[in-house]
Amino acid sequence: MTRYGMVLDLNMCIGCNACTIACKAEHASPSGVFFAKVLEKEVGKFPAARRVFLPVLCNHCEQPACKEVCPTGATSKREDGVVVIDYDLCIGCRSCIEACPYGSRTFYDGNGAYYPGYTTLFETAKQNIPEGVVMKCNFCVGRVDQGLDPACVQTCPTECRVFGDLDDPQSEVSQLVAAKKARPLLPEKGLNPSVFYIGG
């Protein structure tokens, strides 16, 4: 079996947000919505203070809480572990937004154009998210199915993201998880995320 996952090296994330915009360009995500983003906070008191960066995306959990609560089957998990949303089935009830402990999902209210009152040729060509559905990161399945890395991985200038098959012990992601004390976010929720963090 294949279980796609990602390992992010927090030591190497410099908070440049190349991933955030790669994701936006790849998915034409609406204004104000980020499927991938970099959270920031400060730790310590001056002068022993510093900013820390936490790049986040959908965790593609092995036991996705979002899927559990979805009444229509719009959210499903592919055989390769990627959690996806079928916009045709989504009724916008937003139960999944409540259920996801990671805040990975956003309801689309239809106000997504980047230039107010104007839809660009790019948005016309690429934005396929209908009003009234819930949206999120899909590990760039369109790219992954072609053998490419997700857009955020492809663009990362410090190469702090690695994508691959967690079920293959020889894959780089598996090796990193095994060797580097990789941990997911909120493991206590018991959802078994496929996104792991090292360093930091």
Binding site: G15, I21, A22, A25, F34, F46, R50, Y118, F122, T158
Partner: protein, 843 residues
């Protein structure tokens, strides 16, 4: 869904900052759907930053200017509607030709050109178009340019920039810059290389008043008081030289002028009046020419030769820095003496003086340390001194053009295509490919007639702030003509200079202003004619990867690429160079331009331009590429293939041990520059302060250091964030979205304790007021800033209606900057960018 008729990826080069990363643009049925880093480009290596990817959405900005516009309202002012009326290109060209002809007839020097479009400036405007037209005033570039820095680099590393070798460096001090953290030159490749270096354990020390992205990832953040970096560096030099005795004697003796004997007046002891400088040979006990074979030059001691008491230049430096003990530097910098000593020791030990490394079969000195400077540490009065001190620190440990150390980009070209020059005194000068205009050893003593006053500021690369001062107050230097016309090409003079009211005053002096712009920006409010400029995704530009600026040595390659249109041009936009060349044709000086282009581009037969013929820019590019790389490398090849690449040999990666010229640790030429400047100033009727022309650098307080009177108790500084560049990107809605969601980008950073002392809470509106202006914004209380400092990021705070995304977003730092001779670096003319402010609640 129907399958697309067209689905293609096009090679081009990004222009969202100056790094010029190779991109692949994905176009489907004529619509741009994605931009990615071009894996074939050595700089991007397939990666691309947020700005580069966001360039896509800017292509479709409905606020673009798409037709030529003429002002109907004669009143010009900030926020005043020019009442634009659309005109045809033919009308616009007629007006442009008519105005340019009249100005040229009166006095061609009355034409001023302002641009920061490096590709066009360096090849098509400054060396040829402006020269053929007859104006020396084609160099009004940005005040964000590191002009204090470039001259210091020309003088020391013979190159235009500061860089260091992340392949081998083990210890890097980033002094007020974020090299490797998606800022500055070659940002993408440096971010990749920095990450690799940190993975293998390189230590990074970020010295900065602001806890930047670089400071966030550094092993150590050293918050320093703004404008005191020079004291910090000179103190480290003192500790290494005088406390630890840690310096590279071989490098200083043989590769620098450290062994040159200097007399008590500071000048070289020479063999005869114009002979070679002399060094003291310890074997023979005599003063001999510095480059005589087999000598053992002294670095220390006092000697008598030719009846003169003299000492090696190195000793003069070593004695000079004794004034900078850590105990003296600590209260200046707010960095403790113990920290300065520890960093000096760590730096000295990490330099591994005496060690060697074998690379590609060549035994090379191995000095894996570097201190790197860019704008932050030097954008102060006396910034030249700071930049030179930084270079001395790199040199005293021998970390200069060797594995792990400091380097300038591309001092030598592939297979000897270019290389450094050497003065009669054995000192390095820039290769003509990089700095043909840098004449820092022989000075021209005449009254300057350009707005930049070149002869009054001989150790400079550009003198843009003097344009501003000469316009602001024409009585100051009394040039023999009046500026009549300004052409602005892709540059926002209002946003990226000093206080906009001061700039507005200068712009009002021009009877006629033409602005080539993608938007009705802040400059348009003062323009008479606005001409629609092509967006970079619509443009041709050959070789944006320039050896001087953006051809990163970190890639291990030399590389040349092509920016080409990836989508159709919006409306009637054109490229400004093409328009000016068309006007030159109408005015009848295109043949002069062609003659000059043959020289400036170094065109060889059979590719030389025939002055009697007419060529499209494509044809000129085609001749240029074939002349450089052979008949099979025409413009079509570049369109299809993107990059012409040449791997760097070890001698081209680490030229230090393979070249002859020496690097200066002692700037004897400054004494001659001083005399020249004095003489030029006297001719101009000025009693001029030349005290900054010194052979060894000092730290001197910039005005802000001593201005902290009364309520003006804080400094304000500007810093970079990784997803915006200057005002260029502010109208981009994706990057605006990022900035709106970022905790710092649009805010005013103030230390949490400092804020509490002033009763300011997080998120409150505050005023920041300097002697020059005031700005309002939201306070961001943070632990990541020096307690005496207020931080404002980027160049935000646009007000032009024609930039609706950028309008009203963030805070305009430059509004706080005054402009006077007191507030520039007297050597480089760099604008002093730190100033005292008072901060108060706006409510």
């Amino acid at each position: 869904m129907a399958s697309p008729r067209e689905d293609t990826w096009v090679h081009s080069v990004c222009d969202m900052c100056f790094a010029a990363c190779g991109i692949l643009a994905h176009r489907v049925d004529g619509v741009l759907v994605k931009i990615e880093g071009d894996p074939n480009c050595p700089a991007s290596g397939g990666h691309l930053c947020a700005k580069g990817q966001a360039g896509l959405i800017g292509q479709y900005d409905p606020s673009r200017v798409t037709r030529p516009l003429r002002r109907a309202n004669p009143r010009k002012g900030i926020g005043v509607d020019p009442k634009w009326e659309e005109i045809s290109w033919e009308t616009a060209l007629y007006i442009l030709t008519d105005k340019l002809t009249k100005v040229r007839e009166k006095d061609p020097r009355g034409l001023v050109i302002s641009s920061f479009d490096q590709i066009a400036l360096s090849y098509f405007i400054r060396p040829v178009w402006a020269v053929a037209y007859g104006t020396p005033n084609a160099d009004w570039v940005g005040y964000y340019c590191g002009n204090y820095l470039h001259a210091s680099m020309y003088l020391t590393n013979g190159s235009f920039h500061s860089d260091f070798d992340l392949d081998y460096c083990n210890y890097a001090i980033l002094l007020g810059n974020q090299q490797g953290f998606m800022a500055g030159l070659n940002a993408t490749v440096m971010a990749r290389k920095m990450a690799d270096a940190r993975r293998r354990g390189m230590r990074v020390v970020a010295v900065d008043p602001v806890g930047t992205n670089a400071a966030a990832k550094a092993d150590e953040w050293v918050p320093i008081r703004p404008g005191t970096d020079g004291a910090f560096i000179l103190s480290i030099i003192h500790v290494l030289l005088n406390e630890l005795g840690c310096y590279d004697r071989d490098f200083l003796s043989c590769r620098t002028n450290g062994s040159y004997l200097v007399k008590e007046d500071g000048s070289y002891l020479k063999e005869g009046r114009d002979g070679k400088p002399l060094a003291w040979d310890q074997k023979s006990g005599m003063a001999v020419p510095f480059d005589e074979n087999g000598i053992s030059p002294a670095l220390e001691g006092w000697f008598t030769a030719g009846g003169e008491r003299c000492q090696p230049a190195f000793q003069a430096l070593k004695e000079h820095v004794k004034a900078y003990t850590p105990e003296k530097a600590a209260p200046i910098t707010t960095v403790s003496a113990a920290t300065i000593r520890r960093i000096a020791k760590e730096f000295g030990e990490a330099a591994r003086i005496g060690s060697t490394i074998v690379i590609d079969g060549k035994v090379l000195p191995y000095r894996p340390v570097a201190v790197n400077i860019y704008r932050g540490a030097g954008a102060h009065k006396h910034g030249t001194h700071t930049a030179l001190a930084v270079q001395i620190l790199n040199m005293i440990v021998g970390a200069y053009y060797v594995p792990g150390g400091h380097r300038g980009p591309n001092l030598v070209g592939p297979a000897g295509r270019w290389g450094p020059g050497v003065t009669a005194e054995g000192m390095i000068t820039p290769p003509s490919a990089i700095g043909h205009g840098a004449k820092y050893y022989d000075f021209e003593e005449r009254e300057p007639d350009d707005l930049g006053l070149h002869q009054l500021f001989p150790i400079t690369t550009n003198r843009s702030p003097m344009y501003q001062l000469n316009l602001q107050d024409p009585s100051l230097f009394k040039l023999p003509y009046t500026p009549e016309m300004l052409i602005v090409c892709r540059r926002n003079l209002m946003m990226n200079n000093v206080n906009p009211e001061l700039v507005a005053e200068s712009l009002r002096k021009f009877p006629f202003i033409v602005s080539f712009s993608t938007h009705l920006d802040e400059v348009a409010e003062f323009a008479d004619l606005v001409l629609p400029e092509q967006y970079y995704l619509e443009r041709f530009d050959l070789f944006p990867n320039r050896p001087s600026h953006t051809m990163s040595p970190a890639t291990g390659q030399f590389y040349w690429g092509l920016r080409q249109p990836v989508v159709e041009t919006q409306g009637e936009a054109r490229r400004w160079i093409d328009v000016l060349y068309e006007v030159a044709g109408r005015m009848g000086f295109l043949n002069d331009i062609y003659k000059l282009l043959n020289v400036s581009m170094g065109l060889k037969e059979p590719y030389k331009l025939d002055p009697e013929k007419r060529y499209s820019m494509d044809e000129i590019y085609d001749r240029w590429t074939k002349s450089l790389f052979g008949p099979e490398r025409g413009i079509e090849w570049f369109k299809q293939n993107g990059y012409h690449k040449v791997p760097r040999a070890v001698e081209e990666k680490y030229p230090g041990p393979f070249i002859k010229p020496r690097f200066p640790v002692y700037f004897e030429n400054m004494l001659r520059a001083k005399q020249s400047v004095k003489s030029v100033a006297a001719r101009m009727g000025h009693d001029w302060d030349t005290s900054d022309y010194q052979p060894v650098p000092d730290w001197k307080p910039c005005p802000a250091y001593e201005d902290g009177k009364g309520a003006y108790d804080l400094y304000v500084v500007n810093f970079k964030i990784p997803f915006h560049s200057l005002s260029i990107t502010t109208q981009n809605p994706w990057l605006n979205d990022l900035a709106e969601h970022n905790p710092y980008a649009y805010k005013i950073l103030i230390n949490a304790d400092t804020a509490k002392g002033k009763g300011i809470n997080d998120g409150e509106e505050i005023w920041v007021e300097s002697e020059a202006g005031k700005v309002k914004g939201e306070a961001k209380l943070t632990e990541c800033i020096h307690p005496q400092v207020v931080g404002i990021a980027g160049v935000f705070g646009s007000w032009a209606k024609g930039k609706p995304v950028a309008k009203g977003k963030g805070v305009h730092f430059n509004s706080l900057l005054p402009m006077s001779l007191e507030r520039i670096d007297p050597v480089s003319t760099g604008v002093d960018s730190c100033i005292r402010v008072k901060v108060s609640r706006a409510a």
